[in-house]
């Protein structure tokens, strides 16, 4: 039985929303940590604001709040119904998508999403402070892990799995690229003040947001260095949140689709164009070209993958 175009779209967005909920939790976790350790007056607020910028939520936030502190920012990112990227909005959207395609999901996947939403809707926002905030953020990440686990462990490797996988990695690549872009200036070679306090803090923020601050040491056996950090999150194929890693998996799933359907489509070309930015490239060349320009182009080309995928497989 062939899949409805709507079902394919729902599966794609289901994964995107779960991944986005996770990324929001990661970003908030970093912002919260940084604000706790800020040593300057007003430093805490600055960290939270730059975190909001990374999530591209600063404008929406400023429209509603005058002060960026842990309470306002965490409420905005976790619970605000008007913020389409809040964890609440993402989990609800994920569940709505999942409900629409209930028949295309395994019971394990559905139960994960359904239980996550039911549990989240029981949380009272005013209880979520301090240690409890960290618990909730940890829980959001676990939901995402559980979702991926249920997908990997129970879903038939058909077209539905491919659409869903592509959705997750497109969202992740977008998120990593945005975090890098937000702090690209601290990664530029000429800006490096070796061992400078400020930079190390900024770098830690970037690495933590990608869960990469520990594994970095295993890969580079070195202290934090700007060039390594950029390399790690852009080009390293073994780093699960790097742009390269995401593209490897997007391409694999697209190959899967072309095997199932017997044709290659515009989305395959679009993904090749993104991949060409990474394969055989070096950080030196990227820096020469301009890191910010590189990331801007990456984000635009990555969006093209979603657009062409939607056209190629009749998403609606």
């Amino acid at each position: 039985m062939r899949m409805l175009g709507r079902t394919a779209a729902n599966l794609f967005w289901l994964s995107r929303y779960v991944e986005r909920a996770e990324n929001m939790a990661r970003l908030l976790e970093v912002g919260y940590r940084m604000s706790l350790t800020a040593r300057r007056e007003g430093g805490a607020s600055e960290h939270l604001v730059s975190m909001l910028q990374a999530a591209e939520m600063d404008e929406a936030f400023n429209a509603k709040h005058e002060v960026a502190d842990v309470a306002t920012v965490s409420h905005f990112m976790l619970f605000d119904e008007e913020n389409p990227s809040s964890v609440r909005s993402c989990l609800l959207a994920a569940r709505t998508n999942a409900r629409s395609v209930r028949t295309a999901l395994t019971r394990d996947v559905w139960e994960t999403i359904n239980a996550a939403w039911l549990e989240f809707s029981q949380i009272r926002p005013r209880d979520v402070t301090g240690a409890r905030l960290q618990d909730v953020l940890q829980w959001v990440k676990q939901v995402s892990n559980q979702f991926r686990g249920a997908m990997t462990g129970t879903v038939l490797r058909g077209d539905g799995y491919m659409f869903s996988t592509i959705g997750g990695y497109v969202e992740r690549a977008d998120n990593t690229a945005r975090i890098l872009d937000m702090k690209y200036y601290v990664l530029l070679p000429r800006a490096t003040l070796v061992g400078g306090d400020v930079d190390i803090q900024q770098w830690t923020l970037i690495l933590r947001a990608a869960s990469a601050h520990r594994s970095y040491r295993h890969v580079y056996h070195d202290r934090y260095k700007a060039a390594n950090i950029a390399d790690y999150l852009i080009l390293r194929p073994e780093m699960p949140r790097s742009l390269r890693f995401c593209m490897i998996h997007i391409n694999r799933s697209l190959d899967g689709l072309s095997e199932i359907y017997g044709t290659r489509q515009d989305c395959h070309l679009a993904a090749e164009e993104v991949t060409a930015m990474l394969v055989g490239n070096t950080m030196e060349r990227i820096f020469q070209h301009g890191l910010h320009e590189f990331l801007t182009e990456f984000i635009a080309r990555n969006n093209r993958v979603t657009e062409t995928l939607s056209d190629s497989y009749n998403f609606y």
Partner: protein
């Protein structure tokens, strides 16, 4: 011995207390407190359960249902759009002999009702013979003139039927409603069985319970058997749902999943060249059979309600051309209209030449002055239903009503006598039900599910609905009713 004596004494007290609340006919206990045959093993099992066991099982059941997302929406409730139908852990048990009798009566009814529908939408012999008043049919809003002369596949109009039956004595069954449009609730029948197998496997080992799990397979076979004859290859089946906000969405997705059919919303389908297609990832794919869970009025904005966003423009023309089968057919509502209901015994005799095997509830016609006067004088003993109402809304149960409610209904009957039917209050049978204080009798009804295609298939048992409020006779889930797993014992 002394303590034993006390235990027996308190059990006897409990039994006495149980009997004082039960209906004239309780399905488990006879009037003298002895246990009816089909319930002997259950009785033994209940006595073996530790004090809190049933409560724990009930709590487990609730968690299980919520996790699976088996919910329904309550209209007009803003507290939460999704609720669980309470599940009662004590099964309702029907003996093989009882079921044989019931299923014969059900089969007779659905054969007659399909014959009636075919006649109404063709030669209308029954009207010409004067056995059913012409005005009652032709001026009825459930009559669908667009269906005149149309020949559905195999001549079947209502393929999926849920007959509401109540019991008032060991051999006294009454049909309350025939539900030949789009009966819901079958997923609860199936999930109740799953839950019961999960929660009380040992209870199953002590019985031979007829399976219900074959329903989805039988539904698929039924749908395939009525596919248009001009199609090529195996028929493609779609379940057409109004979408995730519909109260029965869970059931729609559940059935599509169990059958391996495509779950579609209106916008997923389109009609071109008189044929129906769905929009797939590789382009249009022909659809042969649509099990539609959308009301007649909404299925096709070109033929019926033009403001419908749920349906598929052109669907009815494709149906008329014989290029797709709609299940159930549009216009079946004329056979389960509450006013037509009173003629079902006539209908059975007219088409089958047989005496009805199941009773109809005697019904008062309020447009007749004599009957209306009786109704107004005795309303506290009667049940008043809106002719087009469903789901327990717009209904008065005389014995449990307040004076204000009765006066209100009297006013309404006088204003629109044709809008109401009135029936005596039936002493619905009771079944033991798990309640806060232990086990108590609660009133139940039964909805067996019937499939009509290449043959008639009736799933043994059906959905038992139980009024959880003490003394209440309204079993609808929207009015606080719950459900029970229903067992038909095999011999």
């Amino acid at each position: 011995m002394c303590s034993n004596g006390n235990a027996v004494g308190s059990a006897a007290n409990a039994a006495q207390e149980y009997m004082s609340d039960s209906a004239p006919f309780d399905e488990m206990y006879n009037a003298d407190g002895s246990v009816r045959d089909p319930y002997l093993e259950l009785d033994a099992w209940l006595k073996e359960q530790p004090a809190q066991a049933l409560k724990l099982m009930s709590a487990d059941a609730e968690g299980l249902f919520r996790r699976l997302g088996i919910t329904f929406a309550v209209y007009g409730s803003n507290e939460s759009t999704e609720r669980l139908i309470p599940f009662d852990i004590i099964p309702r048990i029907i003996s093989a002999a009882e079921w044989r009798r019931l299923s014969k009566g059900i089969e007779q009814r659905v054969r007659a009702l399909n014959a009636f529908l075919h006649d109404i939408y063709h030669r209308q012999e029954i009207l010409k013979a004067g056995r059913v008043p012409e005005a009652l049919i032709l001026q009825n809003s459930a009559f669908c003139p667009e269906m005149m002369g149309l020949d559905p596949a195999k001549g079947i109009y209502s393929h999926i039927i849920g007959v509401d039956i109540v019991r008032v004595g060991p051999n006294d069954f009454y049909v309350l409603e025939d539900n030949v449009r789009t009966p819901s609730g079958v997923s609860y029948m199936l999930e109740n069985r799953e839950a019961m197998l999960h929660l009380a496997p040992d209870l199953f080992q002590r019985h031979k319970v007829a399976p219900v799990e074959t329903y989805a397979e039988n539904l698929r076979r039924t749908l395939e058997s009525v596919a248009p004859e001009n199609r090529q290859g195996a028929p493609t089946i779609a379940v057409l749902t109004p979408g995730i906000y519909n109260s029965a969405y869970f059931e729609h997705s559940f059935l599509a999943d169990q059958m391996g059919a495509q779950l579609c919303e209106g916008p997923d389908l389109f009609v071109e060249g008189g044929k129906v297609y769905m929009r797939t990832t590789t382009g249009p794919e022909r659809v042969d059979v649509i099990y539609r869970r959308i009301d007649d009025d909404f299925i096709d904005p070109l033929t019926f309600r033009p403001d419908s966003l749920l349906g598929v423009p052109g669907l009815f023309d494709a149906y008329r051309a014989g290029n797709v089968t709609l299940v159930n057919a549009p216009g079946t509502g004329i056979a389960d209209d509450k006013a037509v209901y009173t003629y079902v015994p006539e209908i059975i005799e007219f088409y089958l030449g047989e005496k009805p095997l199941l009773n109809n509830v005697p019904t008062y016609n309020c447009t007749d002055e004599e009957q209306r006067n009786y109704v107004l004088a005795n309303i506290e003993e009667l049940v008043v239903k809106e002719v087009h109402g469903s789901g327990g809304y717009g209904m008065l149960v005389g014995p449990t009503s307040t004076k204000a409610m009765r006066e209100e209904f009297k006013r309404r009957i006088l204003a629109r006598p044709d809008n109401y039917i009135v029936q005596p209050t039936l002493a619905l049978s009771t079944c033991p039900t798990s309640v806060k204080a232990g086990i108590a009798p609660r009133h139940v009804d039964l909805r067996p599910y019937v499939l009509v295609g290449d043959k008639i298939r009736i799933t043994p048992g059906g959905l038992t609905r139980v009024a959880l409020k003490k003394g209440s006779l309204v079993v609808n889930s929207s009015q606080g009713g719950g459900t029970k797993d229903t067992w038909v014992l095999e011999e």
